[in-house]
């Protein structure tokens, strides 16, 4: 009798414990969902707001009952105004020519430098690594002005300046207002946030198995051939990550383009000065009390974000998967 009671209570106990564990698990997943959704809301809210506002006319703002569903549409008016004010096609071309191409150059030159730092041992390696960290830490802002001033008489180690002093002929090129102002730093691996990109590459290359490359060495392939045929093909994952970062940073860069270009602005610069452009073009003073310009402004923002968003949607699957495998952080 006693035994039976005992065994009953035992199974009961086990069941209760199981139930408790299960309900705790459910409680936790609900909690997780709530957290994810509420912070997700914070992320998505400004975007939805921007899109909804860009669709409606100024009269919609007078209707205090509208919040999310647009009532008075003015799609074509808003978007045409923003399109014209930003000189969209021209600016898009400028972004492509200056920013995206230099992102492409940067991806390659950083890979080469990173391979050198990751694979080979040499005396100055420690110094080079220290410099690399310095480039990550020192903000672009600090060196922007002197760089700009140097760009008007670009010089390589004073050689061209010396030539100027001796012969009186100034052959130092002025690369302000040309794409070279963006391409050259990228070509030398010191472009926009190149330090971080090199760091990501280094961490990845260090993790690649050495054996394949050594086999290629034994077979008589030179270092560049090994790099091109062995290392690069097996690092598609990291190249994707770096490409995404570099493209995004270049696309969004309004700081440098504002300094180096005085006409033919890229999109990022146009969007930064859109309030002023709208003001001078349509005589709108942007303030919250005057909703006329807000629709235009938000349409401009949508036009700016959409190309990157499309690219993101196409590659996000690979990008999210690749994060799992890059091991950026060693």
């Amino acid at each position: 009798m006693k035994n039976i009671i005992n065994s009953f209570s035992k199974t009961d106990d086990r069941n209760i414990r199981k139930l408790k564990k299960k309900s705790l698990g459910i409680l936790y997943s609900v909690f997780r969902l709530v957290i994810l959704l509420s912070i997700g809301f914070i992320i998505i809210y400004p975007l939805i707001y921007t899109i909804v506002t860009s669709l409606q006319s100024k009269y919609a703002f007078l209707n205090s009952t509208r919040v999310w569903i647009p009532t008075e549409f003015a799609i074509s008016e808003n978007y045409r105004a923003a399109f014209d004010a930003m000189e969209y096609l021209q600016s898009f071309w400028s972004t492509f020519k200056n920013e995206l191409i230099s992102a492409g150059i940067e991806i390659m030159s950083c890979a080469i430098a990173a391979y050198g730092l990751a694979r080979f041992d040499f005396k100055l390696k420690k110094l080079y690594t220290a410099i690399l960290f310095l480039t990550i830490l020192v903000p672009e802002m600090m060196i922007m002005i002197p760089r700009m001033l140097n760009y008007s008489h670009l010089d390589f180690f004073g050689i061209l300046g010396l030539f100027n002093k001796i012969t009186g002929v100034d052959i130092r090129p002025n690369i302000i207002d040309t794409s070279l102002a963006f391409w050259l730093p990228s070509l030398f691996g010191v472009g926009l946030r190149a330090g971080i990109l090199i760091y990501i590459y280094i961490q990845f290359f260090k993790g690649l198995p050495k054996e394949l490359e050594e086999a290629a060495w034994v077979d008589g392939a030179g270092p560049f051939k090994t790099f091109l045929t062995i290392a690069l093909p097996s690092s598609g994952v990291v190249i994707l990550t770096v490409t995404v970062f570099s493209m995004i940073w270049h696309w969004n860069d309004s700081l440098l383009s504002g300094m180096y270009l005085s006409n033919s602005f890229p999109l990022a610069r146009q969007i930064a000065r859109l309030p002023e452009t709208l003001g001078s073009k349509y005589h709108i003073i942007l303030s919250a009390r005057d909703p006329q310009g807000i629709g235009y402004l938000m349409a401009g923002c949508v036009l700016f974000v959409v190309p990157m968003l499309i690219v993101y949607m196409i590659i996000q699957h690979w990008f999210i998967e690749s994060i799992d495998r890059v091991g950026i952080t060693g």
């Binding site: 990550i136 010191v190 990022a268 799992d324």
Partner: protein
């Protein structure tokens, strides 16, 4: 004997290749990084006039620094507000992105969707466009008067803080945090990516072993996950600090940048150098303390 010589030959060759692969980079560093950096130090100690295409420089010692620190009424305000907002935001961004990465690293339905959603700020938040969007969003919320009517009936953050009887600095901290929540969450994009990558690199055998030993999730976090993440945390901290310091949403940077565009190069150089020296000092102290008390303990 012969073999040793041969080996030395190979390692010499390899070191030569090391220099070869980094030549272009080091040239770039000298022309586009070191030179401008030195120049900007010189600028901060000089008086600069723009003449024609070039500039005229006169060395004036620490005059610029004296000017901005003692004569300029604005600079100290900009400095203090920028540095406080930097110190406010840093711990929250680190904690928030670490916990979000921990959640996103778990296995559950809809995880890919949430990951895609949480990486969205990576695309947008580094640009000028986010300043516009935030400005308009918050303007519309508070000024147009639509939401005033609703929010009047709702409990505000201040009420909650009062209700919970939190006082002094803690209360202010909570209020500021919640009023800046958009800004903070949107600054977490790349940090989440970095933490996720760090979490992926923790060997799963550690967790299996701890489960056999009967460790709770809480212990698992403190004895496996957090120690393994400590190096990533340093990287994320440095990245976040640089982001926060140079963000155009910072009062000081915004003002200095608009001054720069009017051609004021000497005083702005001094302003930026002073600001970055202070921020860099704070950064060094934080990273040193973290290394000393967290990272070193686990190694």
């Amino acid at each position: 004997m012969k073999k040793a010589k041969k080996n030395r030959g190979i390692s010499e060759l390899k070191s030569r290749y090391g220099y070869l692969f980094t030549t272009h980079w080091i040239i770039g560093i000298i022309i586009f990084f070191a030179l401008p950096l030195i120049q900007s130090v010189i600028f901060s100690f000089s008086k600069i006039e723009i003449v024609g295409g070039g500039i005229n420089m006169d060395f004036i010692g620490t005059e610029n620094y004296r000017q901005i620190l003692f004569a300029d009424a604005n600079y100290e305000n900009w400095l203090s507000s920028s540095i406080t907002s930097y110190l406010y935001s840093l711990p929250i961004i680190i904690l928030l992105s670490m916990s979000l990465a921990l959640i996103l690293n778990q296995n559950f339905r809809g995880r890919l969707f949430f990951r895609a959603l949480y990486f969205l700020p990576v695309i947008i938040s580094t640009g000028a466009v986010i300043n516009l969007i935030f400005r308009t969003t918050s303007n519309d919320m508070s000024n147009i008067g639509v939401s005033d009517a609703y929010s009047a009936n709702m409990i505000s953050v201040d009420d909650i803080v009062r209700l919970l009887d939190i006082q002094g600095e803690a209360a202010k901290y909570i209020t500021v945090t919640i009023s800046k929540i958009f800004d903070l969450v949107w600054s977490c994009g790349i940090q989440i990516v970095l933490f996720l990558a760090g979490l992926q690199s923790v060997p799963s055998s550690f967790y299996e072993a701890s489960r056999v030993e009967g460790a709770t999730k809480w212990e698992e976090f403190w004895f496996i996950t957090f120690p393994m993440l400590s190096r990533v945390t340093v990287l994320v901290m440095i990245f976040t600090m640089v982001e926060l310091i140079t963000s155009e949403r910072t009062t000081l940077i915004r003002n200095v940048y608009s001054m720069m565009r009017t051609g004021n190069y000497d005083e702005t150089s001094a302003m930026i150098w002073f600001y970055f020296l202070i921020c860099g000092g704070i950064m060094a102290v934080i990273v040193f303390l973290f290394n000393r008390f967290v990272t070193k303990r686990y190694e």
